[in-house]
């Protein structure tokens, strides 16, 4: 629909108006306005366009800093000590420096998704043509909510997405520039810029995922997307094993295609790790998902892979060393991660294969996906043959190895979760490998213990070997990532959301840096599924949810349906599919309320913030991408809860529930400013324990717009979880009960007593048509 840089040249043009000779017309951009919706106020917002909206949020949710590092060492003035009231040589304060690092993290995250999207776009346009229709999901008209909302364009072909990506890229440059020494100095402005990066990130996510959905035949919002296999034990080590690690599915697609074209799929195992695995299973459910990022090192060390193919993001940067240990080659496929390997993209495939098999080259960089397909399959098959019978890791007698342990505790100090590694070694010395095996489920697989060990014990490999029996049986079904939420599903949940039968939407997303294993994520998912929340998931979290079974051997994907409805467990897919989760919130505003979507960010965010009880949970958030995804939620007014490691993002965004003046909104019906209570109470919260997180999630699902029934349902869950985990009633109930009808009537007596004691007065907390935006007030003429 949009054409750019159109040039017309006429040697001579005669018309009734006149004759034109040598007429040249150059048009910057032709916009075909088939879209009836008029342009909203903020098409392609620049860095400061939405600053006033950000400040409204940041005024309620003030950054609470937890400096992970007291110093700034970004320029040669430094290191500058910023503790106390000290300022850096450039004048920067501690708060500004912390927020500056948040901004940088969000920029890295957004840039990573944008670069991922750009790679998809360039490659897939070349393969499929830019006019390929952009079909996102079945029964769906609003195919790209973020692109519409932020950019004000309505993409109809994959080529149309380029404009959105161009915009994202130019904005990221502006944001990174703001972090240069001697630029932005105000902490809140840094925060606002981080929000901007988050918003851009979600546009990039959407572009990247829509590209692959539209071209590669991935499920189109199908609630009954097939089940794929997940787990260490799904890989048959007797076959040649190709292990694909990372986030960009294009090389893996060509590996699968090559196997299909040559009728080899039955003879070769293709397994994926991290988000590539999700997208491979979306492409072909016969490919296997080995596991989340935390399985990476352990799986390599198991010796099962015959070839490691890395694309981009979340790959072990020492993958070359690891591959060397098990004697298999590495194929790097992305310019973003060349790993020091020679570029063999333009060499004949056979030559590359021969060099890899013979061990002349430890690996190769091949950036042309088609070529990757051929090289990978041929290499893996030959390497498998060369490696012969013995494949699985076998360090020999663990007891003997463990006896070298000096019990110095360096391993425990190095472990991010202070796991009892030394105790496990001590037990192993006695021939008891149980404690070692138990570590497997808790370990995030970072390998720092091995680096730290002065006796050079292969700790992670020992854990893997000790839990071998358990690992080979590790097989779970997982619902293949379905992509977007259909418009009809959004409409279907409209009435239950209005009536409060659905108490909220919980999105379990992000990485696997869990404090106590992935079982916690499954526990959160189950708790809220039972309570008939809508549970949405993606990435490593979606995998960990699959890895817990009940006594009857069923996991949550088998027990709960995949539709976007109360008690539904929706796996959207990989990291880049996260845009569909926020996209669903945007669509709720657009499809129900008919709030104009086009370039209308503030109004839509205001709507979501005040009305849609969605909460993001990144229990194992680790990466900068997770930071930018969270930032995109914040700007839309969606609170995010992270696990204890999340405090290393340097600050939380906390509301002060006791400060009444912070919790005022306009009543859009009459323009009055009224007190609505602290809902949602926080925008970014790091929970120390699983129990704290569950209570907080239920609490953060409350919104000023809740109907009485909705509030009563939400309060029931909050109170019940609070009682369950803290053994008592919450002491802030009086801030959330607006009128008698809000009180869950099964607990009326008990609650009314508490309210009385707190001096609660009916209707002091208002239930208006809430908005933070003065301009949204409907005033009578």
């Amino acid at each position: 629909m949009a054409n750019r840089n159109v040039k017309l040249k006429f040697d001579e043009l005669s018309s009734t108006l006149g004759t034109f000779k040598g007429l040249e017309i150059q048009i910057g951009r032709i916009m075909d306005e088939e879209w009836e919706e008029p342009m909203g106020p903020t098409p392609m917002p620049s860095v400061s366009t939405l600053r006033s909206w950000d400040r409204k949020l940041l005024n309620r949710y003030k950054p609470f800093y937890m400096p992970f590092c007291d110093l700034c060492c970004l320029c040669t003035y430094g290191k500058c000590d910023l503790t106390g009231d000290k300022k850096g040589a450039c004048g920067i304060s501690m708060p500004a420096q912390q927020s500056r690092i948040v901004l940088l993290a969000c920029c890295i995250g957004a840039a990573t998704h944008a670069a991922h999207g750009r790679h998809m776009l360039n490659h897939l346009i070349q393969e499929f043509g830019k006019d390929t229709p952009l079909v996102a999901a079945l029964n769906t008209n609003v195919e790209a909510p973020h692109v519409r909302l932020v950019c004000g364009i309505k993409p109809q072909t994959i080529g149309d997405l380029e404009e959105a990506l161009d915009y994202v890229e130019t904005q990221i440059v502006q944001l990174v520039a703001a972090a240069h020494t001697g630029q932005e100095g105000d902490n809140i402005d840094f925060e606002s810029k981080a929000f901007h990066a988050g918003m851009l990130d979600h546009v990039a996510l959407e572009v990247a995922d829509l590209m692959q959905i539209a071209t590669l035949g991935l499920p189109k919002g199908d609630p009954e997307a097939p089940l794929a296999e997940l787990g260490y034990g799904t890989i048959n080590p007797d076959k040649p094993v190709i292990m694909c690690i990372g986030h960009n599915v294009l090389p893996s697609v060509d590996i699968i295609d090559y196997l299909m074209d040559h009728d080899l799929f039955d003879q070769v195992e293709v397994g994926g790790l991290c988000c590539t695995a999700h997208d491979m299973s979306r492409y072909n459910k016969r490919s296997k998902i080995v596991g989340p990022i935390s399985w990476q090192l352990k799986f390599i060390k198991s010796g099962i892979p015959d070839l490691i193919v890395v694309d981009e993001q979340c790959i072990r940067t020492d993958v070359m060393d690891q591959a060397k240990l098990i004697g298999v080659p590495v194929l790097a496929t992305s310019e973003k991660s060349c790993l020091g390997l020679p570029d063999r993209t333009h060499d004949p495939a056979e030559a590359v294969v021969n060099d890899l098999i013979s061990g002349r080259s430890p690996g190769a960089l091949v950036t042309e996906p088609r070529k990757v397909g051929e090289i990978a399959v041929k290499t893996a098959m030959a390497v498998r043959k060369r490696r012969g019978e013995k494949k699985l890791v076998d360090l020999g007698d663990l007891k003997e190895i463990a006896s070298k342990c000096r019990t110095c505790m360096e391993c425990i100090r190095a472990c991010p979760n202070t796991l009892p590694i030394m105790d496990a070694m001590t037990a192993a010395k006695e021939g008891d490998y149980g404690p070692l095996a138990e570590l497997n489920d808790l370990c995030v697989g970072c390998g720092r213990c091995e680096s730290a060990c002065p006796a050079d014990l292969p700790i992670l490999t020992m854990i893997t070997q000790a839990s071998k029996d358990q690992l080979v049986n590790e097989k779970y079904p997982i619902r293949v990532g379905r992509g977007a939420i259909q418009d009809v599903e959004i409409r279907e949940v409209g009435s239950p959301i209005v009536f409060g039968e659905i108490p909220g939407v919980v999105a379990l997303v992000g990485c696997a840096n869990y404090p106590a294993g992935g079982g916690d994520v499954a526990a959160i998912a189950e708790e809220f599924l039972k309570r008939r929340f809508i549970v949405v998931t993606s990435g490593c979290s979606a995998m960990n949810i699959a890895m817990t079974r009940d006594e009857e051997g069923q996991n949550l994907y088998e027990k709960y349906p995949g539709n976007f409805d109360a008690g539904g467990l929706v796996n959207v897919g990989s990291c880049v599919s996260n845009g569909h989760i926020t996209g669903a919130a945007i669509k709720i505003a657009n499809i129900f309320a008919k709030r104009p979507l086009r370039a209308n960010y503030e109004e839509i965010a205001d709507y979501i913030y005040n009305r849609v009880g969605a909460v993001g949970v990144a229990w194992g958030a680790m990466s900068q991408k997770a930071a930018s995804i969270a930032a995109g939620c914040w700007r839309l007014g969606i609170p995010v809860v992270v696990g204890p490691h999340g405090s290393k993002y340097r600050r939380m965004l906390l509301g002060d529930q006791g400060k009444e003046e912070d919790w005022k909104v306009f009543n859009a019906r009459d323009g009055q400013e009224v007190y609505v209570g602290p809902a949602p109470e926080h925008l970014f919260y790091a929970a120390e324990t699983l129990e704290e997180a569950m209570v907080m999630i239920a609490k953060l699902a409350m919104r000023p717009n809740d109907t009485s029934k909705g509030r009563a349902v939400k309060l029931s869950h909050y109170i019940d979880l609070h009682k369950k985990h803290y053994g008592a009633m919450p002491d802030d109930l009086h801030l959330f009960v607006r009128r008698g009808q809000d009180v869950p009537f099964t607990m009326k007596d008990e609650i009314m007593k508490i309210l009385e004691a707190k001096g609660w007065v009916e209707d002091r907390i208002a239930s208006p048509d809430p908005t933070l935006l003065d301009r949204m007030v409907r005033r009578r003429e």
């Binding site: 306005e33 088939e34 029964n139 409409r491 009435s495 008939r532 029931s716």
Partner: protein
């Protein structure tokens, strides 16, 4: 509130499912022919508050895994309780029973299936008296107008069987009364502003002959809800003077709508899709839509996933009408309202309906005029508008009579056509021929003024370079 009950009670147990192997006891269910739950409004002196009677065996007397016929009769009394509220009170049972930890309730009336889990039984929930106590307290807590309540549980098969036909008769009478009740018989309608959280200018007007668009609130429900929560979103509208009996327009209704829509909507006519149609929220069950090509209406519901006969799917149709707007040619509705004799009354009722999904037709067939049923097309009989026209002619659908009348009438009397729909059906055939308008001041005024009449101006541009930042091509609508 439930300290004396051996298990917990709360909204959080609502979604709980009890599978066969976890079940201590099943009451009713598909294996039993005789089962029912019934609420009856009684005079004050006929109800002994708090009384519970068990006819047959109690829970603890039934062996593990038992499946039994079951009847539950709840008698209520209160100064404000009317016969008409029975159904509303009865339907709460589903929710309340499900609130009990380890108790599951499915379906309603003569089709109930209830299960008690082994776990809850082991915790001591072993008597119907527990169930009765919970129900009693929940009812009185949520519906304070219930002053007295007594409950009878029947597990004695012969007694259940004996009661069953009586219960069926009472349901039937209740339904007949509900369906036979007309707008004229009542002085008040009910308004529901719940959906204003999504559609701030929308208000559902609920009358005995028009269910709320969501299909969840009848006039009786409205009456009960307004009683339960007088400050809540459902409220009384005294209907006031009748302005138009056919279109369904009332003076007071208009006044309330003006007020609640903040002046956006001036008037509403309940039984037409043109002029001042009732607005639609975002959660309506279905929609009637005007098809100008045949001068009739199609109807589509939320669960219909394919395209309708004119090529639009439900998503598109609802986008055209949702959000509390008055859009000519669209009539958001509940399935139940299609059973009303006033359905699209002002536009010709069922005689104007030409197409609907088979699924809805099967559901409401018996409430449609029998002669029209075979004449209305479904997705199984026709796929497009040409096919539809053919079908209607072949079946002599009453709409064909209108075509003839139209053809004889002068052209301008044709029915109005909704602009938005037209745009959807006739996508831009091509680009309009571009014209160039020179901006004011582009040519010196003197040059134009000094021209003698009849002389045309010719402009010659040589080596001109025109550079435009952006050119916007917009399809203009009439």
């Amino acid at each position: 509130m439930f300290e004396d009950i051996p298990v917990d009670v709360g909204i959080i147990y609502e979604g709980e499912r009890i599978r066969g192997r976890d079940m201590q006891l099943e009451l009713g269910g598909p294996r039993e022919t005789y089962k029912f739950e019934l609420v009856q409004a009684k005079p004050m002196d006929e109800v002994e508050d708090g009384k519970m009677t068990i006819v047959g065996k109690d829970i603890k007397e039934l062996p593990e895994g038992t499946n039994t016929p079951f009847g539950m009769i709840i008698d209520v009394a209160g100064a404000e309780i009317e016969k008409d509220l029975e159904g509303v009170i009865e339907r709460r049972l589903h929710e309340y029973v499900n609130f009990i930890e380890g108790f599951m309730h499915l379906n309603q009336r003569y089709d109930i299936q209830m299960r008690l889990s082994k776990k809850s039984y082991q915790k001591g929930f072993n008597s119907f008296n527990h169930l009765g106590t919970v129900l009693l307290r929940l009812y009185k807590s949520e519906m304070p107008f219930i002053e007295k309540m007594q409950i009878t549980f029947i597990t004695e098969p012969a007694k259940v069987e004996e009661w069953y036909p009586r219960a069926m008769g009472l349901y039937e009478a209740r339904d007949a009364r509900a369906r036979g009740m007309s707008d004229d018989e009542v002085d008040v309608f009910y308004g529901c502003s719940l959906c204003q959280s999504f559609a701030p200018t929308h208000l559902c007007v609920i009358t005995p002959q028009r269910y709320a668009n969501c299909g969840a609130i009848s006039w009786f429900d409205g009456r009960a809800t307004a009683k339960v929560d007088p400050k809540g979103p459902v409220f009384e509208i005294p209907k006031g003077a009748l302005i138009d009996p056919v279109k369904g327009e009332y003076e007071q209704v208009n006044k309330v709508i003006r007020d609640k829509s903040l002046g956006e909507i001036e008037r509403v006519q309940l039984y037409t899709a043109f002029g001042y149609p009732h607005t639609s929220c975002g959660c309506f069950e279905g929609c009637a839509f005007y098809i100008p090509e045949v001068d009739g209406y199609g109807v589509v519901h939320r669960n219909y996933k394919s395209k309708t006969v004119n090529g639009l799917d439900f998503v598109t149709i609802s986008d055209l009408t949702a959000g509390g707007r008055q859009v000519d040619g669209f009539h958001g509705l509940s399935i139940e309202y299609m059973r009303s004799p006033k359905f699209l009354q002002a536009d010709g009722g069922w005689d104007r309906v030409v197409w609907m999904p088979k699924d809805i037709m099967d559901r409401i067939k018996e409430y449609m005029p029998p002669e029209i049923v075979p004449k209305i097309a479904t997705e199984e009989s026709v796929q497009d508008l040409d096919g539809l026209k053919k079908w209607l002619r072949e079946k002599s659908h009453p709409i064909v009579g209108r075509w003839k009348a139209e053809e004889e009438k002068p052209k301008e009397a044709a029915a109005p056509q909704p602009a938005q729909q037209q745009a959807q059906q006739f996508p831009m055939a091509g680009f309009t021929v571009p014209t160039m308008e020179l901006p004011a001041g582009a040519l010196p005024a003197a040059m134009l003024q000094g021209l003698p009449q009849g002389v045309t101006l010719k402009i010659i541009l040589k080596n001109a370079k025109i550079r435009a930042e952006r050119v916007i091509i917009r399809a203009e609508k009439e």
